[in-house]
Every structure is written in C-alpha cells, then in structure tokens.
Amino acid sequence: MRRADRPIVQLPAPLVWGFMIVLFCQLLFHYSSQQQHEAAYQPLTNPLQASTYRGISMGSDQLFGYLLAIRLQLHDNQMGRHFSYNRIDYHRLVEWLEQISEINPRSEYPMLLATRVYSNTRDKEQLRLMLNFVERTFEHNPQLHWRRLTEASLLAKHRLRDLELALRIAEKLTLQPAKVVMPNWARDIHFLLLADMNEFESAIAMIQALIQSGSISDPDEKRFLESKLLDFQQKLFESQQSGKN
C-alpha cells in the first residue's frame, strides 16, 4: 500500500531552504564544468602497455583492440565539436597506434587510421610520423599491410613531395618475396617512381629483369611493362641527347 505524502508546506523551513541551496549549487557546478569541457580540447592521454590492455580485455583481445581503435578514431570529435588534426599530439598518436597494433596484430585498422584518417593533416611533420609508423608496422606482416604501404608511398609522393621517401617505401614492396601475394601494380610503383626521379636507367634495368625472370604470366601486365620499357628508353635517349647538346 502506498504511503501518503505530507504537503511540502508542512516541511521544516531550514530543510526546504537547505535543499534549494544544494540544488542550486549542483546545477551551477554542473553548468560550469560543462562550459569548461565544451571550450577545451582534451588531449590524448598516454596509452597503457599492450599487455595491460590484453589483461583488461578479459580474453576478448581482438575486440578490445578494435574498440580502442574506434575510440582513437573518434578522438577529434569531442562534445559534439570537431577539432583539427593539427591539435593532436602525433607522437602520442603513434604510441596509441603501436599499442593497438600490438594488441591486435592481425588487424588492418591502426594502419588504415594512419593512411586514411590521420594522414589528412596539413602538417608535413605529422604526416611523416604517420608514414614512418606505416613503414615500421609493415615489416611485422607484409601480406596484411601491403595495401597501406602502397598508399604510404603515394602519400609521400603527392602530399609530402618527398620522392626519396616514396621510393624507399616502394622499394620495400618490390623487395618482398614471391610468397607475399600482391598485385603486380604494387611492385611496379618502384620503377614508376624511379622514372619520376629521372632514374631511367635503373627503371629500365628493373623492367628488363622482371620480364626476363619469367615471373610475369599475365599478358596485360607484360604488355604494360613492355610499353613502359619503350617509353623509358625513349625518354633516356632524349635526356642523353639533350645532355650532349
């Protein structure tokens, strides 16, 4: 049976006044803390070690790794506001990405965040940090990460305008053994970049070695290589002629 309530007017006055003051303080405190949160950007905290996260995950390591990656992905959106990537501490971001990769080594998510999300920064140093991370992580599992390395090579070429770095990254793809299955175009990036750097002799040598090795069975790929070979030979000849003149 429901107990009947006494009317509020019958309550002791100090109790009512005390309640009103406490309620006002609560509302004021909540409002001011909300204002502070809305105004300020909360920077990334230091990540814990991967082994600690594994322990916290209670056996669901991979799921926890993905959830951490999603949390990191949402870091630039705080209290309904989007913050520029320039405000993010990229050194700490790399630490986060490394820990997530260690928790979940079979996932492409951290590499994808590096090449597709956090590469969209205007700061070249920040972009360089992302590319270095991709380059390092690729070594752990080339078969899983070759796509991200090709993206990193293209980012180095087009966004950083650093052909040396792009070439170094592309070379890693070319040097992968045949057991690392990837399309031919991924390995072709290396000689295309060599040609961009006017290193036609090296590019020609690479294409010739590829054709002579007999490893190219696809007729379209073979045709593409032959056309590039002719193109580079022509350009080399032209550059030699212009050098003589």
Binding site: G55, G59, Y66, Y109
Partner: protein, 259 residues
C-alpha cells in the same frame, strides 16, 4: 531416487520460469542488436566482425549476470520460505536437491543461450553461432554453479552475487593481476612482501577458473579451430564444475536446519 530428483527439478524449474524471464531475455537480445548497430556505423573496416563480437560479449555479460540473479534469488527464496526444512522432512537426500539445482542451472542456461544462437547466426556464420552458444552455455553454467555455491554458503542475495562476480572477474582478470604482481616484485627488487603476495595470488589461482574456461571471443575475427577451442573449454569446465558441486555438497551437508 532418479524420479524424485527429476520431480524436484521440475518443481524448482517452474519456480524460475516466468513471462518476465522470457521478456527480459528478449529485451537483452534486442538491446545487444541496438548496441551493435551503433558500433557498425562507427567502424571503418571489419564492421560486421566487430559488431558480432560486441553483441556476443554484451550478451555474455548481460545473460551471465541475469542467470546469476535468477539462481541466487531462487535458492534465497528456499531459505526465506523455509523450503529446505520442508524438503528434508520428505524422503529426499540433500544431494538430490543439489542435483536438481544443477539440472535447473543447466536448463536455464540452455533457455538463455537459444536467443544468442539465433542472434549470432543472423549476424555471422551459423557454425560460429553454434560455437558461441555452446561456449556461452558452459560459461554461464559455471557462473550459475558459482552463484549456487555462494548463495548456499552466504544465504544473502547481495553477498552471494558480489562474491560470484568477484570470483568470475578474478578468474577473467587473473592475467592482469599476475602481471601487476610480477611487476611489483620486480620494482621492489624482490621484496619479501611482494613475493609473498605474488605467492598467495598464485595459490588462489588454483581455485579459480582459468581463461580457457570462458568462451573465446577471438573466433569472430579469424581462423580459430572451433572444435578444439570448445573441447578445451569443455574439459576445463567439467573439472571446475565438479569441484564446485563437491564444495556445494560439503557445505550443504554441513548446514543445520531446524526441523
């Protein structure tokens, strides 16, 4: 004797089954789908795998807690309404009550994992759904037995629930705690206190279920041998369940009831 145990099981089971139980299970399944839907919007890649793993884990903990509450409440009511005293005046042995409760826990877990099988199979492959339902049955069954032991010993629902959750989490977080203690020993240059605490926790671990007793969530992400994983969990659960039942029997036989 067998017929008596089955009759007691039916009686106890009827006390648990209700529309509310069915409704709550369905609400939990629906809630898991909604949570999963939210995360599928956020994930850039592997959205389906992340969602199904998340739904599976959500259901694991929600249904585990739910089963624990149902079981402890059921046994607590037997204490409250002096059911034990009434049962002991009948030609029933005490082990028959424990056996009937074990059957109740098994049946309840089966009822709870059926919607899980459906939900996981809808999201992913039915074989993985079947694995998860079976593995979850084993996990919730173990948690239920832990709840039964706790309520038989402690007789109060809040105490029993807290104790069971503590043991469950201690088992699940044993890796993290061991790591912290090992680190503590290293940082204190092998001080006696740290080594003693590490030793005590090492001893406690012998009485806790290991991580292999729980369903493996990694099955949603890669090539895991489902049968092998399940068989390891099954053997580990059987041994720990027998241990829990033995402790329950010892504790229950030691209890004095005013007949």
């Amino acid at each position: 004797m067998f017929a008596q145990t089955i009759a007691l099981f039916k009686y106890l089971m009827l006390g648990i089954l209700s529309r509310r139980l069915l409704l709550l299970t369905l609400v939990l399944a629906l809630l898991s789908v909604l949570v999963g839907g939210f995360f599928s919007e956020l994930a850039i890649i592997n959205g389906r795998e992340i969602v199904v793993a998340l739904v599976a884990d959500f259901l694991r903990y929600a249904l585990g807690l739910f089963a624990l509450l149902v079981i402890t409440t059921s046994v607590a009511q037997d204490y409250e309404f002096r059911q034990f005293e009434r049962l002991l005046t009948m030609p029933l042995a005490r082990w028959q009550y424990i056996a009937a409760q074990v059957l109740v826990i098994g049946s309840l877990c089966l009822l709870l994992v059926l919607p899980v099988l459906l939900v996981i199979s809808l999201y992913g492959e039915w074989l993985v759904g079947l694995y998860w339902a079976s593995a979850l049955w084993l996990e919730i069954f173990l948690l239920g037995l832990l709840g039964m032991l706790a309520i038989l010993s402690l007789e109060k629902i809040p105490l029993a629930v807290c104790f069971s959750i503590a043991i469950y989490l201690l088992g699940k977080l044993s890796g993290l705690i061991s790591q912290m203690l090992a680190e503590s020993v290293r940082l204190s240059d092998g001080s006696l206190t740290s080594r003693f605490v590490d030793f005590i926790f090492g001893a406690i671990l012998y009485f806790l279920p290991g991580l292999e007793s729980f369903a493996d969530n990694d099955v949603f992400f890669g090539n895991v041998d489902l049968l092998e994983t399940l068989s390891i969990q099954f053997s580990s659960t059987v041994i720990y369940a027998l241990f829990l039942v033995a402790v329950c029997l010892v504790d229950f036989y030691r209890k004095e009831f005013n007949l």
